[in-house]
């Protein structure tokens, strides 16, 4: 049995007339000790799913279990063994760093000393500020304290809802390094994020969009599913180039991607692209690239729209 199983979960919001479907029948499993990512933009349903798994919301259909316990029937057992960090860093702003950690330890029937080993690497970074009020910490430090608080009772499954949103690139990187370290300690981690580039850090990811899971796979597996040649092109007039690529016959899709445009080719479309680049009479650059998760995400979004 997996650490988390989700079977055909459906969630609605609102009254019958103006009903919004937040989750449209999701199913997936997370193995014990896995670092599992839910990747998708705001509104994809990540938070609703997390709240169902942490027993905070009831699903309208489907079943789910965490650590072998049913999220509806055994909600008490689940509450004893999961760690949860909601989207907003849920700390008591007027309590100090130390007081926050102590409070959460006691609430979960444990002490800081008992599980210090587990949080040591993270907590030691903020320990110099132990007497500072949580409200006065920087975003990165708040994130570390919130993670320490969610970990202090040595949960078997850790739920992190958008822990890196609104945090700068440096803190994000550090945060993922901490998660990799926690994974080694055998904790199952579910993390959600709108940043596609973070998918590569996970063992497996679910790509979510509008309440549906478009694909569940390893990052490498997701990339393999892409299954079409991808070109990176650039020249000195990027706007014109993009329009030219979009209207090119051999091209399935073209979109800006950092300093290049990515061009998804139809079978045998290379020649047509090459012709256009030549016709534009500008110095250009073009080379095949391996798609990343963002390319795949967009391809999946378009497939779905095309259906």
């Amino acid at each position: 049995m997996g650490a988390v199983t989700v079977d055909n979960i459906v969630k609605f919001y609102g009254k019958k007339e103006a009903r919004v479907t937040a989750l449209q029948g999701l199913s997936f499993d997370v193995q014990k000790g896995e670092l599992f990512g839910l990747i998708g933009p705001d509104g994809a349903g990540k938070t609703s799913l997390f709240r169902i798994l942490t027993t905070l919301l009831l699903a309208d259909a489907g079943t789910a279990s965490v650590d072998g316990f049913d999220v509806v029937k055994d909600y008490k057992a689940i509450r004893n063994r999961v760690g949860y960090m909601p989207g907003r860093f849920s700390l008591y702003q007027d309590l100090s760093v130390r007081e926050n950690l102590e409070f959460f330890a006691t609430i979960f029937n444990t002490t800081i000393e008992e599980n210090y080993e587990l949080v040591k690497d993270i907590y030691s970074q903020i320990e110099p500020f132990r007497d500072r009020k949580a409200g006065k910490l920087s975003g990165g430090m708040k994130q570390k304290l919130a993670l320490s608080c969610a970990l202090i009772h040595r949960p078997s499954v850790l739920f992190l809802d958008e822990p890196t949103t609104g945090v700068d690139a440096v803190s994000r990187k550090e945060f993922w390094e901490m998660l990799a370290h926690l994974k080694q300690q055998g904790i199952t981690i579910l993390v959600s994020t709108p940043y596609m580039d973070e998918a590569a850090r996970c063992d497996r990811v679910a790509l979510m969009q509008e309440g549906k899971i478009m694909s569940v796979n390893t990052p490498a597996g997701i990339v393999n599913e892409f299954g079409r040649p991808l070109l990176a092109v650039k020249n000195t007039n990027m706007l014109q180039l993009l329009q030219a690529m979009k209207s090119c016959e051999g091209v399935e899709d073209a979109y800006p991607f950092g300093e290049y445009h990515h061009v998804v080719l139809k079978p045998g479309g290379e020649a047509a692209v090459k012709t256009i680049l030549e016709q534009m009479k500008m110095p250009y650059e073009q080379h095949p690239v391996t798609p990343d998760v963002e390319d795949c995400f967009m391809a999946l979004m378009r497939n779905k729209d095309g259906q």
């Binding site: 709240r51 905070l56 509450r79 860093f89 849920s90 702003q93 102590e102 959460f104 029937n109």
Partner: protein, 368 residues
């Protein structure tokens, strides 16, 4: 149990670290007692009056002295015609005029009868009534002494005794009122806000996902405010006894017990509001308009319930503060025992049980 204590401790940190709110919570009862005690009194003191003395004899002279020396009246001036009286009223200087007839002394001696006219400004009818009553009493008193030793024709004399509050002090009625108001504010509004605040900041989410039982979260939230209320009750009682000189005639223990009962009722109400709302603003708005105003209007402390239309009287029965106000008035001022207030006590207990049951039923073990 350790969880519970940790939670209570955390609540105290919140309260103590928010200095401004703490100051308001502890300072408010003191300020209210002082304001009601010294500024907003409905007693009538030192009212300005004018005298039109058409008699100018021994009797009128003595009456004028007696009116002037009472603490209710200040004689502003003597006037010489009705026109002057009207002008004085118009100018807004005076509240009442006293008109003595010509030959007052002779009339009293020869006919045992004289008519003194009291002209009062009835734009505030309560004050006008009070003033004419006071003046009437002084004149009656004078009349009795003036006629001493003489045989009077049959007259019925009414004798008024103000029971429990011989000096007619306003403090006797507003101290119980302020107690009800302060407890309502501290317990209902603050508990409602503190729970909703955790919903807003997202910490309630984490609390719900912890092994902490929801009922314990609720109780832990209530404990600090219960204690804070006890401090407030003590300070109100001390102030009223030592500053306003309102005695506690009944049993202090009974008063304490009833106050705790009312505090718990208010806490339960606060919990119910918090369970039903999602933002601090809504919680505050509901507590203020739904709870605080009815407490002032319908508890009988500002406006007598007997004078209200019947539907309002019925509604007032649902206001816990009404019953608490009655209890405190009876116990503290009249010195009554539990035997006299058991009915009100029972009603309050019933309300507490009902509200608590509702609050627990409404409190969600999940979000939304």
């Amino acid at each position: 149990m350790k969880q519970f204590i940790a939670f209570v401790k955390k609540e105290f940190y919140h309260i103590i670290r928010d200095k401004r709110t703490l100051f308001i919570l502890l300072g408010m009862p003191v300020v209210q007692i002082i304001i009601f005690g010294f500024a907003l009194t409905n007693e009538v003191k030192n009212s300005q009056i004018v005298i039109l003395d058409n008699a100018k004899d021994a009797a009128s002279a003595q009456l004028i002295t007696e009116l002037g020396s009472s603490r209710y009246f200040d004689i502003k001036q003597n006037v010489y015609s009705y026109k002057d009286i009207e002008a004085a009223f118009r100018a807004g200087h005076i509240r009442m005029a006293v008109v003595f007839p010509p030959h007052l002394d002779e009339d009293l001696k020869h006919f045992n009868k004289a008519q003194i006219q009291l002209v009062a400004d009835a734009s505030d009818p309560n004050v006008a009534t009070t003033l004419t009553t006071y003046a009437g009493a002084i004149i009656q008193d004078f009349n009795k002494r003036y006629n001493q030793g003489r045989q009077l024709p049959y007259t019925i004399q009414t004798e008024v005794r103000m029971l429990y509050n011989p000096q007619g002090k306003g403090a006797y009625s507003f101290v119980p009122g302020v107690m009800a108001m302060v407890l309502m504010l501290v317990c209902t509004m603050m508990t409602a806000i503190t729970i909703v605040r955790e919903k807003e900041t997202g910490t309630m989410e984490v609390m719900l996902v912890s092994p902490m039982k929801p009922i314990r979260i609720i109780l832990a939230k209530a404990v600090p405010y219960l204690l804070l209320s006890l401090v407030n009750i003590t300070s109100i009682l001390l102030l009223s006894v030592y500053v306003l000189e309102v005695p506690i005639n009944g049993s202090l223990a009974l008063l304490g017990f009833e106050s705790i009962l009312f505090t718990l009722t208010c806490l339960a109400l606060g919990l119910l509001i918090s369970a039903a709302t999602d933002s601090q603003q809504t919680a505050m708005f509901i507590s203020l308009t739904g709870m605080f105003l009815p407490t002032i209007m319908l508890s009988g402390f500002m406006f007598p319930i007997e004078n209200m239309p019947v539907p309002m009287q019925v509604v007032s029965n649902a206001v816990p503060a009404k019953w608490y106000y009655m209890i405190v008035r009876d116990v503290m001022i009249k010195g009554a025992g539990l035997g006299a207030v058991w009915k009100q006590t029972l009603i309050l207990t019933g309300m507490l049980v009902f509200l608590l049951a509702m609050a627990l039923k409404k409190f969600k073990i999940r979000l939304a």
